[in-house]
């Protein structure tokens, strides 16, 4: 107890001296030697108990007590540095990954959006939209009806992307713009940095266009000119006034694929367009602010009758169509949400496993400290005092683990921000910030108590006699062994669950990666070109520009082939719509007609993209504006709309001129592509030659010999050489697009797999630890067995049997747990069942093998026990 400068022997000598002096005094007072000695001891009392009581009674201050406990814990931990390092390291890992994953989930899913009162913001879209599949769009007339009749909205706005070209003395610049109705900024409640946002009614036809620009455009193009508001600019050939600049932090929207290439630089008032009148053209998104205090259900209930009335009034476009109201926050997190919540679940399992491991480590130490605990208890230390002491120890450990863990989490989040897929919205905002720190603190305390409780309770159970008896009593040792085995079996079960989850995700990923996208991605560079409507309004000029540009690009060294298309796979840039098949009756109202994605491509597109021709011919020089109109269909389109028939020579119409279908003849069939993403079901495709169906907004695709990045400069120069006011932007390789498409899946898969590997390791360590401990405890029994003629093999088998039994129990529990959780996972799988027997069997086999090995190592130690030595130790 006196453990500082003074050696215990010195203290004992002083006590002895005191007793001697007291005896002397009492004998002087006339007592006999025996009486005097007894009285002296009585007067002295029990030194240890007295000290305990002294400390208990003397300390009023919690802080004092805490300091004492912490000091004691620190000294104790310093005494067994290896154990302490193991525990702190394990905890750092557990707390670190948990905090990192939480910071991720917080940034993407939980953190409120950076708009005013974000909980009132909702995304609105048409549900039950046909043909286009699942989509979050709305047609402008429907939006107007919702806006007019929706009493639950404080404000509502519609918007859509527009690639715009800004021209002026500073040169031409193409950028991503957002066409929007007047109230967008009112809905979001974000004030501009400079100038103003839109006035009410500023979006009406006939008014001059107004633009609010991004901070980055302001800096880049206007040199941060404070007087920019009010400046006239030319956007796509239309005069427009810059009315305001948004702050640098402002982003809207922030969840659509195009954002990955470029973020919105200009918000402009709605421009006249025929589709503003078309109820069947679902080309807008809508966002709204609910009136304060309005719940989602209330909003849904208010909008349902409007949708019903629209469905009755416009059965051809609106039949069976409802309104979906989603919290903007959930809408933004979108498809990343289930994967992130899965990660959080997985990391919680890892944390539990960590706790079990640490509890086991501490349990083995608690056993060696049983005597100390028993003595302290016998000397009058209260149980509460001892539990508090043990818990202080575990909290000190947890705290150390948390500090290291936070450092790990910080590194982890930095890594995630660097390597994480851009496809996950708001991922870039991941950081170890105040809420994460708070979370970590809570986890630390929880974890400290969780893994500290088992050793604390074990330490208390022992009586003084039991603690001092040479061999621990069978009952209490058995009880503790049971606790440890339970912990290890639990670890095995958790590891099994994680491994199955990881296994299923890996198999899904392999399924997706094994899919043929329908094109050859390597060494294809893409870039966007958006011709200015003022100078290239004439379709003939559009065709001429792109043909000239492609001629120039093909001359660049390293270019194998080059082409343009208005819609290439995986970019989110689509040209979908219905079409007519000659000879096939129109579908009755309310039913789906033929529907396809209809890319307009230049000759050479299929070769450049590596899309295989299956039948007929590809586009070539013959397919000019005046020549017979032709199309090429994908194999899926051929199978779907001309089943059992050769489609070549048949005719389709994708557009109508003066009420008459414009028939185009099918000249070829090509392999279909996974245009909408690797996992999305492929849709029918109908390719039109660009020369016969011009478009001003095209994507360049260039197949190169070497590194695609090396050609960016050359391509820019060729386009600028053709027209210095024409911009080319958004350079990306097809490989990048493919990788981004897989990223949403690869990212959680990689993390869950890492967690599962960690879990497997922890479980193996757990099995090893408990088996090694068992061998030590049962050395005597093993020695006796060996002395009585058991062969070493028998001893190995004895230990192995024990380990395997433990593992089997844990594995069974883990399999059951995985089955129970399979439903939550099924949404994240692709091409594999959540109950995939191969995965389950494989994981069970891996676990048994690993755990068997972990049990085998200590069993060899058992077989090497020398009976003579062990029996002599008795």
């Amino acid at each position: 107890m006196f453990r500082r400068r003074r050696p215990p022997a010195d203290f004992a000598a002083e006590i002895e001296a005191h007793l001697q002096l007291e005896v002397d005094r009492l004998r002087e007072a006339g007592l006999s030697r025996e009486e005097a000695e007894a009285a002296a001891r009585r007067a002295f009392g029990n030194v240890t108990a007295a000290q305990e009581r002294f400390y208990e009674a003397g300390r009023w201050l919690f802080g004092d007590r805490l300091r004492q406990d912490v000091g004691f814990a620190l000294r104790l931990l310093a005494r067994s540095p290896i154990l302490t390092a193991a525990v702190v390291g394990t905890l750092a890992l557990g707390i670190g990954v948990t905090s990192a994953v939480f910071s991720l989930v917080h940034a993407v899913v939980l953190r409120p959006l950076d708009y005013e009162r974000p909980h009132e913001l909702v995304q609105l879209y048409e549900s039950g939209l046909r043909g286009g599949g699942e989509a979050d769009w709305v047609s402008f007339p429907n939006f107007q009806d919702w806006r007019r009749e929706g009493r639950v909205f404080e404000d509502v706005a519609a918007y859509r992307y527009a690639l715009v070209t800004l021209t002026g003395p500073e040169g031409a610049e193409s950028m991503l713009g957002l066409e929007t109705t007047d109230r967008l900024f009112a809905v979001l409640g974000v004030p501009p940095l400079l100038g103003r946002t839109f006035h009410a009614g500023e979006d009406r036809p006939g008014r001059e266009g107004a633009a609010v620009i991004s901070h980055s455009l302001w800096r880049r193009r206007f040199g941060s000119d404070p007087g920019v508001a009010g400046r006239a600019v030319n956007i796509d050939g239309r005069s427009c006034t810059v009315v305001g600049v948004m702050p640098a932090s402002f982003r809207f929207p922030n969840n659509v694929p195009l954002d990955q290439v470029v973020s919105v630089d200009a918000w402009i008032t709605l421009r006249p367009s025929p589709d503003l009148e078309e109820r069947g053209s679902h080309n807008f998104w809508a966002v709204a602010r609910l009136r304060a205090g309005t719940g989602l259900d209330e909003a849904r209930a208010a909008l349902a009758p409007i949708a019903e009335r629209l469905a009755r009034q416009h059965p051809d476009t609106n039949a069976d169509m409802g309104v979906t109201v989603a919290r903007l926050q959930d809408y933004v997190a979108g498809s990343a949400r289930p994967a992130l919540l899965l990660l959080l679940g997985a990391v919680a399992l890892v944390l539990l496993l960590t706790c079990a491991n640490v509890a086991n480590l501490l349990l083995s130490r608690a056993e060696s400290r049983r005597r100390e605990m028993a003595v302290r208890q016998a000397l009058g230390a209260s149980r509460g005092r001892l539990v508090r002491q043990t818990l202080t120890e575990s909290l000190v450990l947890a705290l150390a683990g948390a500090v290291l863990g936070l450092a790990l989490a910080h590194l982890g989040t930095r890594l995630v921000v660097r390597l994480g897929p851009a496809a996950i919205p708001r991922l870039q905002q991941t950081a170890v910030d105040a809420p994460v720190l708070l979370f970590t603190a809570a986890v630390t305390v929880g974890v400290g108590i969780l893994f500290g409780l088992a050793p604390a309770l074990v330490g208390l159970g022992s009586s003084l006699q039991a603690a001092f008896r040479e061999a621990p009593s069978r009952a209490s040792a058995g009880g503790r062994r049971f606790v440890r085995q339970l912990l290890v079996a639990g670890q095995v079960a958790l590891a099994v669950m994680l491994l199955i989850g990881a296994g299923l995700l890996v198999r899904s990923f392999a399924q997706v990666a094994g899919l043929d996208p329908g094109f050859r991605a390597p060494r294809v560079l893409t870039a966007l070109v958006n011709l200015s409507p003022s100078r290239y309004g004439d379709p003939a000029r559009q065709v001429a520009f792109f043909e000239e540009a492609l001629r120039g690009i093909r001359e660049l060294p390293g270019v194998l082939s080059a082409a343009v298309a208005n819609s290439i796979p995986l970019t989110g840039i689509n040209d979908q719509g219905g079409f007519a098949v000659e000879g096939r009756p129109d579908p009755p109202p309310g039913e789906d007609g033929p529907f396809a994605n209809r890319p307009r491509v230049s000759a050479g597109y299929f070769d450049t993209m590596g899309i295989r021709l299956l039948d007929g011919r590809l586009f070539d020089e013959r397919d000019r504006p005046g020549s017979p109109l032709v199309v090429i269909v994908s194999d899926l389109a051929a199978r779907t709309y001309w089943p059992g028939v050769d489609p070549i020579g048949r005719r389709v119409a994708v557009d109508w001129a003066e009420g008459q279908a414009v028939w185009r003849e099918i000249v070829g069939v090509v392999r279909g592509t996974r245009h909408f993403g690797l996992e999305a079901p492929p849709k029918a495709e109908i390719y039109l030659p660009h020369a016969q169906a011009p478009s001003p907004f095209m994507t360049l695709v260039v197949r190169v010999e070497g590194d695609p990045a090396g050609l960016v400069r050359g391509i820019r120069a060729r386009i600028a050489g053709l027209d210095p006011e024409q911009a080319v932007f958004g350079f990306q390789t097809m490989d990048e697009l493919l990788s981004n498409a897989g990223a949403r899946r690869r990212f959680p898969m990689a993390l869950v797999t890492a967690f599962a590997a960690l879990a497997l390791l922890l479980a193996a360590i757990g099995v090893y630890g408990v088996m090694a401990h068992m061998v030590v405890q049962r050395r005597r029994e093993i020695g006796v067995r060996l002395a009585l003629g058991a062969r070493p093999d028998d001893v190995v088998a004895l230990v192995l049997r024990n380990g395997v039994r433990l593992t089997l129990a844990g594995t069974a529990a883990g399999l059951a747990g995985a089955v129970a959780l399979s439903r939550t996972l099924s949404g994240l799988l692709f091409g594999v069942s959540a109950m995939d027997p191969a995965t389950y069997a494989g994981v069970a086999a891996v676990l048994l093998a690993v755990a068997g090995f972990a049990a085998y190592l200590p069993s060899r130690g058992a077989a090497r026990v020398d009976p003579l030595t062990v029996l002599r130790e008795e």
Partner: protein, 118 residues
């Protein structure tokens, strides 16, 4: 050993014991047993100091630098550890004593003449 007894006994407040030890040492170096006796006598046996409880207190005071200890020989030729008040200890005693006097006076006022008189 019996915790029940321990609880019933009036425990000395830590500060009280410290104060008593320091005060006892004002009159010169003493060993532990001597201090225990002196406290018992001067407090007219009201304050029961279990001798064993004295040593942790002495240890603590020594660590705080209020007292010094060194082994020596007792009046009847026994080896014993003698404690001396340091300069720091004297200062502490003065401070503590005045604080206790004020506290005692305050308690007296709170309890009223009757109770205080007991």
């Amino acid at each position: 050993m019996s915790t029940q007894d321990d609880r019933d006994r009036v425990a000395l407040l830590q500060g009280t014991l410290d104060l008593l030890i320091l005060r006892t040492l004002v009159f010169g170096p003493r060993h532990g047993q001597g201090i225990a006796r002196a406290i018992q006598q001067t407090s007219e046996d009201v304050l029961l100091v279990e001798h064993g409880a004295l040593y942790p207190a002495l240890q603590r005071l020594e660590e705080k630098g209020w007292i010094d200890a060194r082994w020596g020989t007792s009046e009847n030729n026994r080896r014993a550890r003698f404690y001396t008040l340091t300069r720091k200890g004297r200062g502490q005693l003065a401070r503590e004593a005045s604080r206790w006097r004020r506290l005692a006076a305050a308690i007296g006022r709170v309890l009223g003449p009757e109770a205080a008189g007991r």
